[in-house]
């Protein structure tokens, strides 16, 4: 199974919990804006992506099945 990470940018407030859950897949840049480094995920990345989606406090991230 694989999936694609989608970010609802206006909703993102930069809390950064997703970055802690999935540091390989996303990071906050120097301005505090979220950058998705890996959009298409599978295997271990898929699990990390799910964790990142789960901890987003404002529901700005979602995972779409590819």
């Amino acid at each position: 199974m694989s999936g694609r990470i989608e970010l609802d940018r206006p909703r993102c407030e930069g809390h950064g919990l997703c970055e802690e859950a999935a540091p390989r897949l996303m990071h906050l840049d120097d301005d505090g804006d979220l950058v998705i480094d890996v959009e298409e995920v599978d295997g271990a990345d898929l699990e990390a992506a799910k964790a990142a989606v789960r901890v987003c406090p404002v529901a700005a991230l979602r995972l779409v099945s590819a």
């Binding site: 206006p10 930069g14 809390h15 301005d31 404002v58 529901a59």
Partner: protein
Amino acid sequence: MSTPLESDIDIWSDEIVVDPYPAYAELREQAGVVHLPKNDLYVLTRYDVIRDALGDPATFSSTTLGFNPMVNEALQGTSLASDPPMHTQLRATLSENLTPRALRGLKVVIDEKAEKLVAELVAAGSFEAIDSLARAFPLEIVADLIGFSGHVKDNMLRWGQAAMQVLGPMNQRTQESFPIAGELYGWCSSVKAEDLTPGSIGRGIFDAEARGDIPEGTAGHIIHQYLGAGVDTTIASIGNIVALFGRHPEQLEIVCENPDLVPAAFAEVLRYWVPIHIWGRTTTREVEIDGYTVPKGAQIGLLIGAGNRDPRHYENPDTFDVRRNPTDHLSFGYGPHGCAGQGLARLEGHAIVSALARQVQSITISEPVRVPSNMTRSIESLRVLEVVAA
């Protein structure tokens, strides 16, 4: 589908608001949604059910987040009591100055204040933790941030407490708090830019109003929300940090040895003892919850603390464990209405946990004294009898 089960529990009785966890467990085991005829309310009790409701504002409207018509009327047009799409714009203005990005420069200041305050208390050897730490710290931070001084700062605690209390049902606590909440409301509807410290967030809100970023006359509403939401909840959390470390010395020891656990420890404090008991919603249609049918227009009460202790979601939920790292706890809500001040709350909470872990080896505390309150569960007084410095 069937009608929800009933319980004769009064969720706002004095005994329950002081010690809600036995009632939460009873209701949660009954079902994910339980009808409380005494409160004319359907309470949601399990983690998944609460989180789903928070993530579905189209079905669970925020227009009756309070539990009496007077307060809901007064809150109309605020970010708190509105649904998307109107909510989306109000929320953006409200949270603009509170995002972690906007707060980044404050971390150093907040950490320094926490270290200094804790150092003074450790040096004193014994202290009353609520007045001298749980209340003192957020009052200082929030007052400086929003730009309050003088009589407004002196009234912040009373006003913040009353603003929360009046969200409850029309019981005696609510009635007694309305005049005090009215003082805050009155002040916020007449406050001018020059009443707030230059360079403060509050001043920034007036600048946004002057630029036309928010409608004329709404700056006061936003300032009202900062004060109403940001004071009592943080006081409750910081009091709980001290009480839980006093009660579980081995947990403080774990954080002392592993400073990386500071954020996890704060998340666990919020999960274990929720600062806000209950939050309201209204159903916009007939909806099936956990197999039961709840009618359209029903008043919903989200029992956040019950969800945080749901064994379906957390292993050994009644154990306070700083290693757990429950980043998905419900205490900040979730989704479009997720606590707008959570970035600031984390800065404050982490600063206090970190200062305690750095400077304190152990504390001996007296039994925390709690008083009944409609919305927030905080400690009224907590004596730290002895501090062993690290």
